[in-house]
């Protein structure tokens, strides 16, 4: 530090602090990637947050198909989800623009709303183990078929838990294999998603409120 005159020390320190402040958010806020339609939404853990994702897509004006518990065969059937109808423990909604993407068009993106609900899993006849296995099959299928995976966690600390708990197992089943992770700050208080994103080089966006996803999804599917 001999080459720095004493009077510049303060200025140097100030510059370092400003640089740190500017760089810090960039670590969490990476460039938003692009994804393609048609898109399927589903739940990883059967919490109510998949409804949140669906509503946000509607607000963003993005047409989607939804199934709470699809397996690989149903995803393979593409847009329209083989005309399956909702029943107890199984819900299907088809909103994809069929004039642009006729029935059977393979999905190019799948959005997983992560969050475990024992009530939700129970209503669909699932256990944590069978839900994990279902998610693994879907993730494997997506990776083999170049389907873009978006992992979303907007449930905040209520849908987080100790390592190995139901919520964390759902995160482990999806987030490390995602092509893009979007979380609320409440959901990422411990930096778990930031760590996964860094370790796997996955783009991650952190938002203040779930409602902020409207803007993000518009950009992703632009």
């Amino acid at each position: 530090m001999k080459f720095l005159a004493k009077k510049y020390w303060g200025l140097t320190l100030f510059s370092i602090i400003i640089l740190f402040i500017l760089i810090l958010p960039l670590r969490a806020q990476t460039k938003i990637p692009k994804a393609s339609l048609p898109v399927l939404t589903t739940s990883a853990g059967q919490s109510n947050d998949v409804n949140t994702v669906n509503i946000i897509l509607e607000e963003a004006g993005i047409k989607y198909d939804y199934c709470d518990v699809p397996d690989v065969d149903l995803i393979k059937s593409g847009v329209g989800l083989a005309d399956r109808e909702s029943g107890p423990g199984f819900h299907v909604e088809v909103y994809t623009d069929l004039s642009k993407y006729p029935k059977g068009t393979p999905y190019k993106t799948i959005i997983f709303a992560i969050g475990a609900s024992l009530k939700g899993m129970g209503a669909s006849g699932l256990t944590v183990e069978t839900e994990e296995a279902r998610l693994k099959r879907i993730v494997d299928y997506c990776q083999k078929n170049n389907i873009f995976i978006i992992a979303v966690h907007v449930g905040g600390s209520a849908l987080r838990g100790a390592p190995g708990s139901d919520n964390e197992r759902m995160i482990d089943a999806v987030a490390p294999y995602a092509n893009y992770i979007i979380v609320t700050k409440d959901s990422n208080k411990d930096g778990r998603f930031t760590n996964i994103a860094k370790a796997r080089n996955i783009p991650l966006t952190e938002v203040d409120y779930a409602l902020d996803l409207v803007k993000i999804f518009k950009e992703v599917f632009q």
Binding site: N48, N51, T52, N54, I55, I56, E58, E59, D208, Y209, A210, L211, D212
Partner: protein, 384 residues
């Protein structure tokens, strides 16, 4: 020995006389409801089911109609009369709201009989007072169920109509278990049937049933919505969190739990029902005495200790959960439901002005929005 018995008898008579007088005063105390500038019509619920006429189950229905046609919303307060945030929210809208488009229909004391009854054995205050700029406005503190003076005897088990689900005997007097009701049933079944008739005849689009729930009960600080209302409720929940910084999550209405407004109204009419819950520490069991102060400020040292042990379902600190906050949340969620519904269905829009939102109620207090009954024409004042 006889002398002791006589003394005990006299003490008993004195106790019965004093408490009897207090209960008589409570049952007959009248709460003035001021019909504000937006009120265009006032009917009795018996208009939709004449058999209610003249009974304690009958109650006022206020209409706030806009110049432009649009959608219709029914707002229910005091479904449970021991959750008075529902009544206060309804009164703020009745006394201040002005509708531009569509119709807002409000029943502020839906279970009128329950508002004239107290909870035996729980030491509820009989009255509570809300400070205003012109003095204190006094309200009866009611109970969850209708008074047995108005519906008696109770069955051993209440068999819900028409689903035949077996419910607690007390639920026969609970108007949030007797939906959709029947015209020739128990008085509380008649109340809900009359409201269903109102919903069907007036072509109501939305029904908002306003409640309070314990902090130790998971279904609190939330909007309970069935499948048909879930998307709108979720959008409202996301919006109030982002714009007004308070949590109000969405709870699904269980399809197999019958008799509740958020289930039966949706199943037996075209309307979309919503049940709003704000945390009311007064109703929790492990609290100190059930005082008027606890009812109003929601501050309790026992709940605070439980909060530190993470036993509550809502954030809780030394500030408690005051009435102003509860009413403010209900008003904001109600207004946001109308706004989001209107955005999605412009031809059935409901536009209302002059109703305060959360931050305003927290800043000024709910009493700020009550009109002094002595300053308005007597024909604008309604007593149930």
């Amino acid at each position: 020995m006889i002398r002791i018995k006589i003394v005990l008898l006299i003490i008993l008579v004195i106790i019965l006389t004093i408490s009897g007088f207090q209960l008589y005063h409570h049952r007959h105390y009248q709460i003035p409801i001021v019909a504000g500038p937006g009120v265009t019509r006032v009917l009795k619920l018996s208009h939709y089911l004449p058999s209610l006429k003249g009974s304690m189950a009958d109650t006022w229905v206020f209409f706030l109609e806009g110049q432009e046609p649009g959608g219709k919303v029914l707002i229910l307060g005091n479904t449970h009369a021991n959750e008075p945030e529902g009544l206060l929210t309804a009164l703020v809208i009745i006394e201040n709201g002005q509708v531009e488009k569509g119709t807002v229909i409000i029943i502020p004391q839906f279970n009128h009989s329950a508002s004239r009854f107290t909870r035996p054995g729980d030491g509820y205050p009989l009255f509570f007072e809300i400070p205003t700029s012109w003095g204190k406005k006094k309200f009866r503190m009611g109970n969850r169920e209708a008074s047995p003076l108005d519906q008696w005897p109770d069955p051993d088990v209440y068999i819900h109509y028409p689903e035949r689900q077996l419910l607690s005997f007390l639920d026969a007097r609970n108007v949030n278990r007797t939906w959709p009701g029947r015209p020739n049933g128990l008085p509380m079944e008649q109340v809900t049937f009359a409201a269903m008739e109102l919903i069907r005849q007036e072509r109501v689009d939305l029904v908002i049933d306003i409640h309070g729930a314990e902090t130790m009960f998971p279904v609190t600080n939330c909007i309970v919505a069935p499948e048909k209302s879930a998307k709108l409720a979720t959008m409202v929940s996301l919006t109030v969190k982002a714009m007004e910084k308070f949590d109000n999550h969405v709870e699904p209405s269980p399809p197999k739990f019958r008799g509740l407004s958020h289930r039966e109204i949706g199943d037996y009419s075209e309307a979309m029902p919503f049940l709003l819950e704000a945390p009311i520490p007064f109703l929790d069991q492990p609290t100190g005495p059930k005082t008027e102060r606890l009812l109003l400020d929601g501050r309790d040292p026992f709940l605070l200790r439980l909060a530190r042990k993470k036993k509550l379902f809502v954030p809780y600190d030394e500030t408690g959960w005051p009435m102003d906050k509860r009413v403010g949340q209900h008003l904001s969620v109600t207004l946001e439901l109308l706004k989001q519904y209107s955005r999605r269905t412009p031809d059935r829009a409901i536009v209302i002005h002059n109703v305060p939102r959360y931050a305003e109620v927290v800043e000024h207090g709910v009493g700020y929005y009550f009109v002094n009954p002595s300053t308005v024409s007597p024909d604008k004042i309604y007593f149930n």
